[in-house]
Amino acid sequence: MGNETWVVADLTIDGKVRKVTLEAISEARKKLQGTLCGVLLGSGVSALAPELGRYGAEKVYVVDSEILGDYSSEGYSTALSELIKKHSPDIVLAGNTSQGQDYFPRTAARVGAGLALDAIDLGLSDSGRLTVKRYMYSGKSIATVEFLDNSPAMATVRPNAFKPEEDPKTPEVLSESVDIPADCIWTKVVEVKRKESTRPELTEADRIVSGGRGMASSENFPLIFELADTIGAAAGASRAAVDAGFVPYEMQVGQTGKVVSPSIYIAIGISGSVQHFAGMGSSKVIVAINKDPDAPIFSKCDYGIVGDLFKVVPVLTKEFKNLLAQG
């Protein structure tokens, strides 16, 4: 065993390091042992090494290759599995992002590693193996998973589960050349469409405002957007609101939508179904606005206003504006 813990960086469409990577590095530094290493895969990514160092990476492995310029599961899993075979790290982590969920399982299959997805806690067992906590059964239970054999333990971590904290290091940067034959890349990228939104990404957002069937129509959703923008929140929705066509599916929170864990989740005109809670039940503070005093959400929220959302929300937006203007 190389006695190293790796965090493979997740990058945004614009090639920046995602917050979840810094969260994973910070948590690994606090909870795990061994040399903490960052891994950068991509094209022209070497320049990002110091940022991983700023959060505590002592070493950064870089595979800088044009062939990794466009993300592909084949390219990333080939690069990462070659690195793992060469250096035998004990633990390999990444964010539970769309990419992490794609190439981590493939890499685990190739190197024969165990993989736990969407960890919300990291630790070590008595025998020094990785343990993680993760949700099971639609957020209704938390499992402690312990890795048993000596193959590398792999895990993806849930965005927002950990705090990014700086611990500046000047990392040793190791440039690795991995042979990725062009014909092993099957994926042909046709188009990358950016969402034109100034709001934060739902899964990474620290604040979320969501609307449900109670919004009654898509014309009313600007009420949600204005409140969200006032407090710098992402905008979400229940499945009923999505199914009714008020907003697109990408906004859906819940069992069959996005899983989020912001510090504040404001649910507006949402009844609080089990399936909705599967997606947002781990939020730190839950606020509900609903006209029905018997709505199930009121039995599992922190603050509840009983009232008509069309009257309450505009006043709430105004009140937040006043508050934030005062600083």
Partner: protein, 270 residues
Amino acid sequence: MKTYVIVRQTPDTEAKIKVNGDGRSINSESIKWIVNPYDEFAIEEAIRIKENHGGEVILITMGPARNLAALRTGLAMGADSAIHIKDESFASADPYAIAKVIAQEIKNPGDYDLILTGKKMIDEETGQVGIHVAEDLGIPQGAVVTKLDISDDRKSVRVQKEIEGGQVIVDLPLPALLTCERGLNEPRYASLPGIMKAKKKPVKVIETGDIDFSSIGLSAEQLGEGGSRYAVTKLEVPEIKRRLHMIEGMEVSDAVKELVTALREEAKVI
């Protein structure tokens, strides 16, 4: 187009989760089982592809006897046949072993064009088996797909995936494995004639004894809990204490003031 769909059963989403005395497994006695919702999108999509391009849809599952119900549901929706790899101990195997056995079943005839499955199981909340199968078969994968179009020459598939901050559209050569996300389609309900017909559709049952473990590089033990690379050592039903601070029976402006003050001073989140 010959499409395999990997399906499994999960507890009904409303199911109450009770932890067994061992503290690490759930009590499944009173649980109602359903087809994993994401696998339903996969079944529906496979049937639509058959309707547009011809061919056949084969369901494949691995797990205990009750999984037959999931296969019957898929057959009633319109799949043609099913394969049930049956063993009660499979439940605790890790994706690595499960995938090897499933891949072997698909590899044997070998003449497939597409494999579909759900993006994840809603009980274990992982979606690894499909991707492991793709690796075992050495074919391309597309994970978490919201739209797919088979090319006219049926040699490739155009796939749309949601990513953070946007969408990507990629082309993959066939055969490929795709994991399905909600938004891909609206699964149909099985019709009464469909349910009647499903009873006569062939279900091939494979028992552990029928599996040639050495040829797939596994031992029989690896299929059980002992062969898993990790174990669930504890299962808890979390008790998140909520404040349950209700604000009612006052003017809207007062209610909002109370909320905002509490968020700032008590919860300290704004």
